[in-house]
């Protein structure tokens, strides 16, 4: 969690018509607050997170608290109150301001994320590089134009050279939450074929209990370990319709110092492939 967290008051004072929370997650428990009421919420274009939890003050509830999940399919437009005096859960906060929790708007990632994740078949010496997911959300102070979209850009992760420690395999973990389409493009180094593999994973928090290794996930092989050459690029296409939905794509890159370092590009979109089955 970036700290101090972005300040919604400052956005208002500086004349912006919105508060933009755009930050990388540092832990699964990151949570942000805004003391400013909002007229609409929308997922920001740079967000990797697709499900964003929003908590707001609702006097019709016995707990004074209500929540919804914001997604890239549609913006949420209405008046969402933030209360800086009236508390959430007055039943637990009788007249003690130190115990009270003012009804500010709370924002967090509702997608699972595990920074301790290690691929099941990785060697302890292997290098696992996790790209922390980015949370990007807009909170509008005034009613936005009816055409406001809650949509994410088609994102590209480029690896001109795969970072790795000599002699160890590298596992790249790229956030893929809710994406409908993805493509991993790889090409080997001249004269030195390299082996890569691609997995799709969904974090498995329930497996953190006794008997399970910390950092387990549901892992699905999307592209088996295969040697790639330097002439023709290898393309692995992932679609929600064919392979399913994943929290992240994991790309294995062989680490033998005798082999070349491949070049990788990962592209993803919320738009399903134009032609079903591709």
């Amino acid at each position: 969690m970036s700290y101090p967290q972005p300040d919604a008051d400052l956005s208002l004072l500086k004349g912006l018509s919105f508060f933009r929370l755009n930050t990388q997650l540092t832990s699964p428990g990151d949570i942000y607050e805004s003391p400013q009421s909002a007229r609409a919420f929308a997922v920001g274009p740079d967000s990797d997170i697709s499900k964003i939890g929003v908590v707001y003050y609702d006097p019709t509830q016995t707990t004074q608290m209500n929540k919804f999940r914001l997604g890239p399919e549609r913006a949420m437009s209405s008046l969402f109150s933030a209360q800086n005096v009236e508390p959430y859960m007055p039943v637990y906060n009788p007249a003690n301001p130190e115990n009270s929790h003012p009804g500010k708007i709370l924002i967090y990632s509702d997608d699972a994320y595990d920074p301790t994740y290690r691929p099941q078949f990785s060697d302890p010496a292997d290098t696992v590089i996790i790209t922390p997911p980015r949370l990007d959300v807009f909170s509008f102070f005034a009613p936005p134009a009816p055409s406001v979209q809650s949509s994410r850009v088609d994102k590209v992760f480029d690896f001109p050279t795969v970072p790795r420690v000599n002699g160890t395999n590298t596992w790249l973990v790229i956030p893929f939450y809710g994406r409908k389409w993805g493509q991993v493009t790889a090409i080997g180094e001249t004269g030195d074929p390299t082996t890569i593999a691609v997995l799709g994973i969904s974090y498995m928090l329930s497996a953190l209990g006794p008997g399970f290794a910390t950092g387990r996930a549901f892992e699905t092989e999307l592209f088996p370990a295969t040697s790639i050459d330097e002439v023709n690029a290898t393309n692995v296409i992932v679609t929600a319709g064919n392979q399913g939905c994943f929290d992240a794509l994991v790309i294995y890159v062989e680490g033998d110092t005798e082999v070349g370092i491949p070049r990788l590009r990962v592209t993803m979109s919320d738009t399903p492939a134009a032609t079903p089955g591709t």
Partner: protein, 119 residues
């Protein structure tokens, strides 16, 4: 005196999760808690433990050692656990809360947890 007072800005991430867990607990029936509420509770407590751990481990600390120890002690007492540190508690989260749910004591365990932290 709450462990995470509102007057301390650095306490807000943890106290915000406590407020969410408190609201969820208030909405729970004493027995026959739904599976949906159990799952939501697991995720919320999991996130509270994670943010406590993360903000305690970072430099400069945003959660003090005293606060982190209080959360761990409350966790061990309320959920009858034996975690020696917060990472272990995170690892136990799903199974311990499910055990409380199976014995129809999830709401009371949550209430104990919040009470020990003087919410």
């Amino acid at each position: 005196m709450p462990i995470f007072p509102q007057s301390n800005l650095a306490s807000h991430p943890c106290s915000n999760w406590l407020a969410i867990i408190a609201a969820l607990t208030e909405d729970m029936p004493a027995t026959d808690v739904s599976l949906e509420q159990l799952n939501e509770c697991i995720f919320d407590v999991f996130r509270l433990l994670w943010i406590t751990q993360a903000l305690n481990a970072q430099s400069p600390q945003q959660v003090t050692n005293v606060q982190a120890a209080a959360v761990l002690a409350a966790w061990n007492t309320a959920y009858t656990a034996t975690a020696v540190n917060l990472l272990t508690a995170i690892g136990q989260c799903a199974s311990k809360l499910t055990t409380k749910w199976q014995s129809d004591s999830l709401k009371s365990a949550n209430t104990d947890f919040l009470g020990i932290l003087a919410l």
